[in-house]
Amino acid sequence: MTPITIVFLITAIVTLGAAVMVVTARNLVHAALWLILTLFGVAVFYVLLSASFLAVVQVVIYIGAIAILMIFAIMLTRRVMQDTGPTVNQGWWLAALISIALFGGLSWMLSTWIGFDTNMPQLSQGADSLQQLGQALVSPNAYILPFELASVLLLAALIGAIMIAWERK
C-alpha cells in the first residue's frame, strides 16, 4: 500500500458512493450536488494519471458549466416534480440487473485481456504533455479535423438550443 494507492482507493470509494447517491437521491438538487462531488473525484483521477490540463478542464467545464446548468434547469422545472411519488419507473429492477450484468461482463472481459495488469510507465523526461496536446489539436498531421468538427458541433448545438428553448409568442 503506497500512499498513492491509498489516495486512489479513497477517491474511488467517495466517487462511486457519490455516483450511487446521484442515481438514488429523491431531491434533484441534492442529486446535482452529489454529481459535483463525482465530477471532482474524476478530476482527482486525471491528476493521478498526470493529465493536468484535463483535470483543470474537468473542474471548469463540468463543474463550472454543466453542473451549474443542470441546477438552473432543476430550479426552472421544480414546480411540478415535487418530492412525491417514486423517482424510478417500474422497470428499475431490470435496469439494476442490466447494470450489474454489464459490470460483471466488462470486468470479466477486461480480466481476460493480456494488458490488464500493466504498470504505469515513466513519462519520458522533458516531454510536456500539455504542449503535445496543443500541437496535436491544431496540427494537420494529427487531429485538426476532429477538432474543427467539434467546434462546428458546439456552434450547431448552441444555435439549436436557442431555437428549441425560444418561447414563441
Partner: protein, 102 residues
C-alpha cells in the same frame, strides 16, 4: 504503483451506475446526469489507456477533449429540450413525454 486494472474497473463501475440512472430514473434531468457520468467513465478510460499504454502519443487526451465538447453540446441541447417540453406539457417525467410514440 496502481495497475491499469484499478482504473478500468473503476470506470466500468461508474459507467454502470450511470447506466442504471439513465434506465431507471423518471426525471429527464436525472437521466441527463446519468449520461454525464457515463461520459466521464469513458473519459477516465481514455486517459488511463493513454497514460498506461501509449504515453508518447497524445491521442487519448485529444479524444478526451473531444468528449468534453460533445458532452457540453449534448447537455445544452438536452436541457433546452427539457425546458421546451416543460413549457408545453408541464412535466419533465420521461414516461409522460410520449408525443412521438405511435
Amino acid at each position: 504503483m496502481i495497475p491499469l486494472s484499478y482504473y478500468l474497473v473503476f470506470a466500468a463501475a461508474l459507467f454502470c451506475i450511470g447506466l442504471y440512472g439513465v434506465l431507471a430514473r423518471k426525471n429527464a434531468i436525472a437521466i441527463l446526469m446519468g449520461i454525464e457520468m457515463m461520459l466521464n467513465a469513458v473519459n477516465v478510460n481514455l486517459v488511463a489507456f493513454w497514460r498506461y499504454r501509449t504515453p508518447d502519443l497524445i491521442v487519448g487526451q485529444a479524444f478526451a477533449v473531444m468528449v468534453f465538447a460533445v458532452a457540453a453540446a449534448e447537455v445544452a441541447v438536452g436541457l433546452a429540450l427539457i425546458i421546451s417540453v416543460y413549457r408545453s406539457r408541464h412535466s419533465i417525467s420521461a414516461d409522460e413525454i410520449d408525443m412521438l410514440k405511435w
